[in-house]
């Protein structure tokens, strides 16, 4: 009886909130040109950043601080999981090894997935994607190894160091910009060196976007693998 009352109350309040939101959105015209800043981005993205993909140019270049913030959030999430699940002795406790179909399939897929992840983040300035999807794809490869093998563990020492170095490199690229151009995350490769200005749309262009996306891809890949590792392990009592 009480649960029916609770449910109907919940449904009614959600309907009210939905109606309220719909009313608010009804004033926004659909499919009409409402871009104010957007036009500036679309018109200047090529000569200012060298990226053909306007989204990555905005995310990494025009609004690079947001991306740095996102990377920080992910780092905190990873550290938080590590801190919450911290135990002195933790091990993989899985008992059942996958069948030969699963393990061999994973063995054969692993390099392809890593390669594809790298392909995604290196082409961030040309095609959809970028550091975050690329890094997540790489982490998927490690997740597959975890699911197929009972004893597999990522190389912790190497992964944690890589993660830290990648994070520092991102800030370092920004600081070099500060030294050369006068503000943090200034795109010195494009603006000062003019490197790649003559071959827009090919791989070696796009200023520091491919560099930063490589760093982010490595960082996200190692970080998510670390989270998976933390969550899969269980405490072992002696």
């Amino acid at each position: 009886m009480v649960s029916i009352l609770k449910r109907s109350l919940a449904i009614i309040s959600i309907l009210i909130i939905g109606y309220w939101l719909a009313q608010g959105l009804a004033g926004v015209p659909f499919g009409q040109d409402k871009m104010l800043v957007g036009h500036y981005y679309l018109q200047h993205v090529k000569e200012q950043t060298g990226a053909v993909n306007a989204v990555t140019a905005i995310v990494v270049n025009y609004r690079g601080f947001d991306t740095l913030g996102e990377v920080t959030v992910l780092f905190i999430a990873s550290t938080g999981v590590g801190a919450l699940l911290w135990r002195k002795k933790r091990e993989r406790t899985a008992k059942t090894e996958g069948s030969v179909v699963l393990t061999t399939g994973v063995e054969l897929l692993f390099p392809f997935i890593v390669m594809f992840g790298a392909y995604i983040f290196i082409h961030g300035h040309l095609t959809p994607g970028g550091g975050f999807p690329g890094g997540a794809t790489i982490a998927t490869a490690f997740l597959l190894l975890y699911m197929a093998f009972t004893i597999y563990e990522v190389p912790h020492k190497a992964f944690e160091k890589t993660e830290g170095i990648a994070g520092m490199s991102y800030v370092l690229v920004g600081l070099i910009g500060l030294a050369i151009g006068g503000y943090f995350l200034f795109d010195w490769i494009w603006q000062t060196w003019q490197w790649g200005t003559n071959n827009l749309g090919r791989l070696f262009s796009g200023g520091f976007i491919p560099v930063i996306y490589t760093i982010i891809g490595i960082k996200v890949g190692t970080e998510l693998s670390g989270i998976v590792d933390n969550m899969l392990k269980e405490e072992v009592r002696e």
Partner: protein
Amino acid sequence: MEEASKVSRYLYTLIILFLIWLALTASLDEQELIFGFVLSAIVAAITYPIFTTRGLANLHPKRVAYAIAYAPYFLWAMIMANLDVAYRVLHPKRPIRPGIVHCKTILKTNPGKLSLANSITLTPGTITLDVDGDNYFIHWIWVPDEVLHAETEEEHVEKASENITRPFEKFLKVIFG
């Protein structure tokens, strides 16, 4: 199956990854080629211990030729399989006689067993349920009479293997050994 040397395994992974890169980028721009090669070298260095145990021996011309020949053979079997299942679904009497049968394979390597299991799953009304050593347990949509009425276990395995695994094994034996 003994392992090939590290160099051979590394080179094999490098070659395969570079081919994948060529397929992914679909471009012969020199920048893409240079970077793709560097990237393949890095990724291969990380992944080669997991990827392969036999290294460059996989690229033996006979194996590659058999692999190329296997593609149309397998596709044809797959098309016929799907038509067969469509027939069973559409037929008013729904002629199915499902059962789990036991097959044995002559393949020794893990990649070979994987491809056999996948080939079986994708072709005529058969699904691989489990692989244990050289034993395959297969769900069959129409268990034929000679398997159903087999007198002994050996006869059952023999008849089932003849129907299910043999047609693929003659190719896979050469490709994977």
